[in-house]
Symmetry: C2
Subunit: 176 residues, 2 copies
């Protein structure tokens, strides 16, 4: 799997084959076939291993929790391997059921902790109790994706902090 990951990062999805993985790893092709009957299954396992990255464990302080969790995502997006994996997955998801599943897992995993923080903030009154969680997650994670995956920009922690400030301003509980 390390060999497959190295090939993926260096040369992209198409370069990952039973032959190239066997060559680089020294593992026999027969062994590879036995573990992963299709190359898609192999790549699924390689990619998933890297995308179950550490998330922040919320401590109950809305602003800090949002910044910490988003900052992990920011750092992840600057890791060439993760970037490449995400792009490979979403590019293939429209044409391959294995990758569609992986893409859904990725979206779900990425959204989970943010959704948890937002629900807690609705409960505590830090943000409006009527905020739509799905939209809120997209408002927080989306700008990072736009800047990094489309714009290929370097994102700073300051950007994340300002994003969270804007988010909290948009959604604070209306004064009674």
């Amino acid at each position: 799997m390390d060999a497959g990951r190295e090939i993926l990062v260096a040369d992209g999805w198409d370069a990952v084959t039973y032959v190239s993985v066997a060559e680089r790893s020294g593992v026999g092709r027969t062994t590879l076939y036995r573990h992963w009957p299709t190359i898609e299954q192999f790549l699924h396992d390689v990619l998933l291993r890297d995308l179950t990255a550490a998330h922040h464990t919320p401590v109950g302080v809305t602003r800090d929790d949002l910044i910490e969790e988003l900052d992990r995502f920011r750092i992840e997006l600057h890791n060439p391997l993760v970037e490449r994996s995400i792009l490979t997955i979403i590019d293939r998801a429209s044409r391959n059921a294995d990758f569609a599943r992986l893409s859904d897992e990725l979206y779900h995993t990425r959204s989970l902790t943010l959704a948890q923080i937002i629900r807690a903030a609705r409960k505590s009154g830090d943000i409006d109790a009527t905020v739509d969680v799905t939209r809120a997650v997209a408002e927080l994670a989306g700008p990072l994706v736009y800047q990094r995956l489309l714009g290929r920009k370097t994102i700073t922690r300051k950007f994340v902090e300002n994003l969270v400030n804007d988010f909290l301003r948009a959604h604070r509980t209306p004064a009674r």
Copy 2:
């Protein structure tokens, strides 16, 4: 170019070759080579043609202008061809200079009209004059990218309207 686009949508980037394009279009391979010395140049032209999609012409009403421009982007993202083109471009941008250029053009073009509306809104006082334009654009376009390209969700016009409402709440001019 129509043939190339059809192959791209159906089977992805790797299926677009001089041979497949010549076969589908009836145009001789020699002619293709003459016009596009590399297949990357050919794809550049195919993709760029589709991504110079119509933008909204701002009329000077901030909320309406933002909704109209973002709604065009929303519709674009539900067009399988555009979706595929964007994914192909950003996937290849990290490894190919032609695609890196194309990706920058895409990001720039997508941001241009939104930036124009935001600058006008800063001037008119509809939003805070200190709003950072780059971040503002990412806050508007990013959530659509996250929902559609990562989440593979259908986005409604209502989502766009709510997004713009949240954005304006976050950035309205502070009361004096």
